[in-house]
Symmetry: C3
Subunit: 156 residues, 3 copies
Amino acid sequence: MDVDLQLAVERLLARYVHAIDDGRLEAWPDFFSESCVYKITTAENLREGLEAGIIFANSRDMLRDRVSALREANIYERQSYRHILGQPCILSDDGAEVRSETSFLVMRTVQDGDSVIYATGRYLDIYAISGDIAKLNERIVVCDSSRINTLLAIPL
Amino acid sequence: MDVDLQLAVERLLARYVHAIDDGRLEAWPDFFSESCVYKITTAENLREGLEAGIIFANSRDMLRDRVSALREANIYERQSYRHILGQPCILSDDGAEVRSETSFLVMRTVQDGDSVIYATGRYLDIYAISGDIAKLNERIVVCDSSRINTLLAIPL
Amino acid sequence: MDVDLQLAVERLLARYVHAIDDGRLEAWPDFFSESCVYKITTAENLREGLEAGIIFANSRDMLRDRVSALREANIYERQSYRHILGQPCILSDDGAEVRSETSFLVMRTVQDGDSVIYATGRYLDIYAISGDIAKLNERIVVCDSSRINTLLAIPL
């Protein structure tokens, strides 16, 4: 078992969620390769073979555009988010690409109020590993619930 | 500190919860040794020394029977589950067996609806480690709440 | 990347939360250095540069006093708590001190009832590492919600 590989993936995951939860959305696209796929879909869609996701991007530039759009739409955002991830499960490693599956939980907190469960699901990831740096070539975010707000305020 | 041991336990835990959450219940008994103990109990029962658990099995075959029973009972299951585990805490390692304690959180999501907290608690585990493969000799699932549905729809 | 450092931090975190969730509060101060800072504050306070936290201690002895106070106040505590932490994100390591950021989720369970989200947020930690043992020189607990009960029943 490759300890360095496991830790490289874990480190990327930890930095990814801290960037989002700290509100540093502009740092988010940098966790992806320049030519990447990012998709948000639901377990139901995946089960039924429906390709259409809720959100789809196939380049890092599209992710940057999405951050700009979120910034414009959420000027007065008074909520915060908190990702808690499970341990990544490395599924395969062919030397060039590493596939993994990771469960996620995201909570939303109104500034003066309660925290509620915002989303649960799993990441189906493909990484390019270079030294101890991992980058996402692909992330498919599979939400457990089919009732996902299409006006998602943050990346997942 | 034994890095390989820690990662072997983490890897088993990650694969265990993904198998359940992905609905691959038939894979679940394979995470246990042939002669194993699996018990679900509550923190209150444990504190009061009550041996009787909510669910008890003392062989892998009994776990297979349980999966069959769950499959018959839940033909139209429209809910999904998501386990998120804490970091396993290795308590002892005598060369033959490894004991650990791991916190868990399980959420339940109705297909088109919200996610709620289904169960929280901790796993008290005993592993047999062979190379980088861990198997469960014993798992005692200690739920924090005493109000556990005896008709549990999934393994914990 | 330093595997031993990462695992030393993870191990301290796992033992820390298990001590609290198992009700072994007297063990909690031992995770800190003798001369330490422990503070609970909110994301809003931190953002606005307000120094005043909800709880503040600057020695291990003050943490012991706090445990004594909690023990006297909560004789008939009928609730339990469960911490689930994210992966620690090591921010810096200058040889003497290690800084990290870790997301947390704490749930509260009434003995016969449901579990609810009690707090979410992040730990901003400074560790002293000696061999494979980590001790907390400083922990700033930053809660996402500003509505934190000042009569916190447990350490975070």
